[in-house]
């Protein structure tokens, strides 16, 4: 059966399904709100009970919960991956909710709230915001650090949650995340909704002392290496050419990229297929494809015996 026939087939969907999909699933939204209310209350209780620990930071669970399961957010708080850095002007309030690094990416969740109609229009048109990055200690410009681009975005009213996976080693150069970095938001040239308004003036983040996630390397008999950190799994491979258009990548390949099973040392097995937030691919300076599997859960790489992925067993090196 060909694709046009399948499209034609959708014309004959029963009216009950058409009407069912016409309205938003409000039940889920209500349920989520209840959970959020509970989570905020729980966070307040936790803050009060361990008030002596000044470093404890409660997470913005409404925003971060878009990308992480509840247990993962508990771990993010416990491990001190919460940032809660806020920058604001009359148009936007931006919060760097979390900030973590591993060997491949700077990982963060940023919440962007529109405070006026100009900002709302901008966000409606674009989900990306242009930035300039420099090393704070020398002022050296960082062309390879594409903060706030290539992100997974989620909108709720005037608020956008963005999950960032900013590669530290791409064709545009390498980034040393152990040095302090200054991020300046700037107007994107494609912004045609508010041409005479500088929406991003004064908005900036300072990244310093970013916490490093634990990571372990696992290798296959053929020499491919999986780098497993707490939040994502990365593999460098020559088997897939990222320069190809996504449609040229076969379904089987796409499916195999999304199927990953972890066998733990305690004998249990976990399929991560349903725990994947996004799979991203990019090209490194030395022309290799990196596949990043971004997870909705946190995993402890030290507890892993081996990993089944793309037809191979990967074991700790």
């Amino acid at each position: 059966m060909k694709k046009k026939e399948i499209f034609e087939m959708t014309t004959h969907l029963d009216e009950k399904y058409i009407l069912e999909a016409a309205s938003e699933p409000k039940k889920n939204i209500k349920l989520k709100k209840r959970i959020i209310t509970f989570a905020v209350a729980a966070a307040l209780t936790a803050t009060m009970s361990i008030g002596a620990f000044a470093a404890y930071k409660a997470l913005n669970r409404e925003s971060v919960g878009t990308f992480y399961e509840s247990s993962a957010m508990d771990e993010i708080e416990r491990k001190g991956y919460v940032s809660n850095q806020i920058t604001e002007n009359e148009h936007f309030r931006m919060t760097l909710d979390t900030a973590i690094k591993d060997d491949y990416n700077f990982l963060a969740v940023v919440t962007v709230k529109a405070l006026d109609s100009y900002a709302e229009q901008y966000l409606e048109k674009l989900s990306e915001i242009a930035t300039d990055a420099t090393y704070s200690d020398t002022g050296e410009k960082l062309d390879g650090f594409a903060f706030l681009t290539g992100v997974d975005t989620y909108q709720k009213g005037k608020e956008y949650s963005m999950r960032l996976n900013v590669p530290v080693n791409t064709v545009n150069g390498s980034v040393d995340l152990s040095r302090p970095i200054h991020i300046e938001m700037k107007r994107d040239e494609r912004n045609k909704t508010a041409e005479n308004v500088d929406l991003f003036k004064g908005l900036n983040f300072d990244l310093k002392d970013i916490k490093q996630s634990k990571s372990v390397k696992f290798s296959s008999p053929s020499g491919d290496v999986l780098n497993v950190s707490e939040l994502e799994i990365a593999i460098e491979t020559d088997k897939i050419d990222v320069r190809k258009d996504e449609s040229e990548i076969s379904n089987d390949t796409f499916e195999s990229i999304n199927n990953i099973s972890i066998h733990y040392k305690d004998g249990t097995t976990q399929s991560l297929s349903e725990k994947i937030n996004i799979v991203a691919m990019y090209l490194t300076k030395d022309d290799r494809t990196v596949i990043i599997i971004d997870l909705r859960v946190l995993i402890d790489p030290d507890t892993i015996d081996y990993i089944e992925y793309i037809g191979s067993d990967f074991r700790a090196k």
């Binding site: 694709k3 499209f7 014309t11 029963d14 009216e15 399904y17 938003e24 699933p25």
Partner: protein, 184 residues
């Protein structure tokens, strides 16, 4: 006003039938047309044509659900208008994009079906077996032709999750069609 009251207005040839229908379902009709057609003006014209179709077909037709019947009329009118628009604008791009996506669900068997009843049984059998949230995402994308960003907003999900769900649904559809023969 309830559906049966609106339908009665059509049967009575009451001139308020169209204005009352527009008041009740105008936004819903524009939602369907806007996803398919390139401009607001085209959508408005299409929706107005759909009201006329309603006037011309009820009676004799007596739909069980006016909203469901109207939705079909608007979608058909929008797709038909799109074929006539000779520019590669947003709307035509969306339909092409969706048809291309469905190549993932193509089966190798050369057989095709043209019988509407059989098509209906096949597609409804597939969506019936889906969980409610998956079914809504599938219908929003392939019947309403909503972009992923819009589905994400309406279903309280991230865009990546929507795209991932759609990819899996296309795989499930392919498996389903193969299980069903597809040697019809």
């Amino acid at each position: 006003m309830k559906d049966n009251e609106l339908i009665q207005l059509f049967f009575d040839r009451d001139e308020h039938a169209i204005s009352s229908t527009a008041e009740q379902y105008g936004k819903y009709c524009m939602y369907i047309a806007d996803n398919i057609l390139p401009s607001r003006e085209d959508s408005e014209e299409c929706v107005n044509d759909a009201y006329v179709t309603l006037w011309n077909t009820i009676p004799p037709h007596n739909p069980e659900s006016l909203k469901g019947y109207l939705a079909r009329v608007v979608r058909n009118a929008a797709l038909s208008m799109l074929r006539k628009i000779n520019a590669k604008k947003r709307g035509s791009g969306v339909v092409d994009e969706i048809i291309d996506e469905l190549s993932e669900a193509e089966t190798d068997t050369p057989e095709s079906i043209t019988d509407a009843k059989m098509m209906g049984e096949l597609i409804n059998g597939f969506v019936e077996g889906l969980e409610k949230q998956q079914r809504i995402i599938f219908v929003k994308r392939y019947w309403y032709l909503c972009p992923s960003k819009q589905i994400a907003k309406e279903c309280d999900m991230s865009v990546a999750n929507v795209n991932m769900t759609l990819h899996r649904l296309r795989q499930q559809l392919k498996n389903y069609l193969e299980q069903e023969g597809f040697n019809v």
